[in-house]
């Protein structure tokens, strides 16, 4: 039975499952950190580093989309596809931090 109005649709969401979706944020954070480390170690500069971040975000999302969500992200996440792909502002800054740190350690210092 489909829910025609958003109120009824909101009532069908089981809250503990939504809270468990924070595991998704953890995955995004860890992938942002490792991407930063990779970009720094490889010595990527300027737009190449951001391109690597974009590529890693897309590939992580694709993996989750195929394996976990089985092609239907709207069923598993209230925000749908955008919530899956969006890394969030926090992870963006974490990527920049890790990138700068590893770039500095490997390429700037002797």
């Amino acid at each position: 039975m489909s829910a025609p109005n958003p109120d009824a649709a909101a009532q069908r969401i089981y809250l503990p499952n939504v809270q468990h979706n924070s595991a998704l944020m953890t995955v995004k954070f860890l992938s942002a950190c490792f991407t930063g480390a990779t970009a720094g170690i490889l010595g990527l500069q300027n737009w190449l580093g951001f391109a690597l971040f974009l590529a890693s975000t897309l590939s992580t999302s694709a993996c989750i989309y195929v394996i976990n969500c089985k092609g239907r992200p709207a069923k598993y996440m209230p925000g749908g596809l955008w919530e899956l792909v969006n890394p969030g502002q926090d992870n963006m800054f974490s990527f920049v931090l890790a990138w700068t740190l590893f770039f500095g350690i490997v390429h700037v210092y002797d």
Partner: protein, 271 residues
């Protein structure tokens, strides 16, 4: 014009004694802030039974109304609960101080004089102070000890406008903006460690710097909602909502026999 082909050589001791210590200190101070805020939080004040009953009555009617269009309870139950609540709200039986007297002017309690609301505001201010003070202290520490030298090279370019902020203390007019001082490393850490805090301390942690950005007075709003509000007016408004919801009411199980029979094909659709 600065050339990117020439790169500065930096002493590795800078890395050991500045880069890592600043990050480590910021992580530890963030964890410290989180636990200090937890320790500083006083347990919520226990309300007297009458006040709790007043709040719960409002919640009960909201719960009843929430599912009224697709309600799991049958008509007689719904209507009896709804009418009971409406009458009680009208007569004021659930109010904390009893039914209002006919001649008393109804004024909401002044938030500044109501002691309950003051406690809530003080608690909010305390946490804001705890969260702002360590950041100022660390910035002062960095400006005092780690000033006047280049720390690291940013892997991405920035405009010249950032030069004054990120190269503070280094008087070189045409060095590339990508060579920055320790303060910019502080800023990078400030923004970038939130994800780490979320991982270590859990989602709702007090070390998150994004929470410092909200205005201090937003956190000063009384923590227990409704203590400064006039419940008489609220309950009257709720009574109107109840009557509206009663008009929209429909039972989930209405005509369920017909639906079951039709699903199993035992009922001709012409009937």
């Amino acid at each position: 014009m600065s050339s990117n082909a020439v790169s500065l050589y930096l002493d590795p001791q800078i890395r050991d004694w500045v880069l890592f210590p600043i990050t480590l200190v910021m992580i530890l101070v963030g964890i410290l802030r989180h636990y200090v805020v937890i320790l500083l939080q006083s347990p919520p004040k226990k309300l007297p039974r009458a006040a709790i009953r007043e709040q719960r009555a409002l919640v009960r009617s909201q719960i009843l109304r929430a599912t009224s269009t697709n309600s799991p309870i049958s008509e007689s139950f719904y209507k009896s609960i709804s009418r009971n609540l409406s009458q009680a709200f009208e007569a004021g039986t659930y109010l904390k101080d009893g039914p209002p007297k006919a001649d008393a002017p109804s004024t909401p309690p002044n938030p500044l004089s109501d002691p309950n609301a003051m406690d809530g505001m003080m608690a909010g201010m305390k946490t804001q102070m705890v969260m702002m003070v360590p950041q100022m202290v660390i910035m002062g520490w960095i400006n005092f000890f780690f000033q006047g030298f280049v720390l690291i090279k940013l892997p991405f370019p920035l405009t010249l406008g950032f030069k004054s902020m990120l190269q503070r203390g280094i008087e070189t007019p045409d060095m590339d903006v990508r060579w920055v001082s320790s303060l910019s490393w502080y800023f990078l850490n400030f923004f970038g460690l939130n994800g780490l805090y979320r991982l270590i301390l859990g989602g709702d942690n007090a070390a998150d710097s994004t929470r410092d950005m909200t205005t201090p007075f937003a956190a000063g709003v009384p923590q227990a909602p409704g203590q400064a509000q006039d419940y008489n007016k609220l309950l009257k408004a709720e009574k109107d909502n109840l009557e509206l919801a009663e008009g929209l009411y429909s039972w989930v199980g209405k005509d369920v026999e017909q639906r079951v029979l039709r699903r199993y094909g035992k009922l001709h659709s012409s009937l």
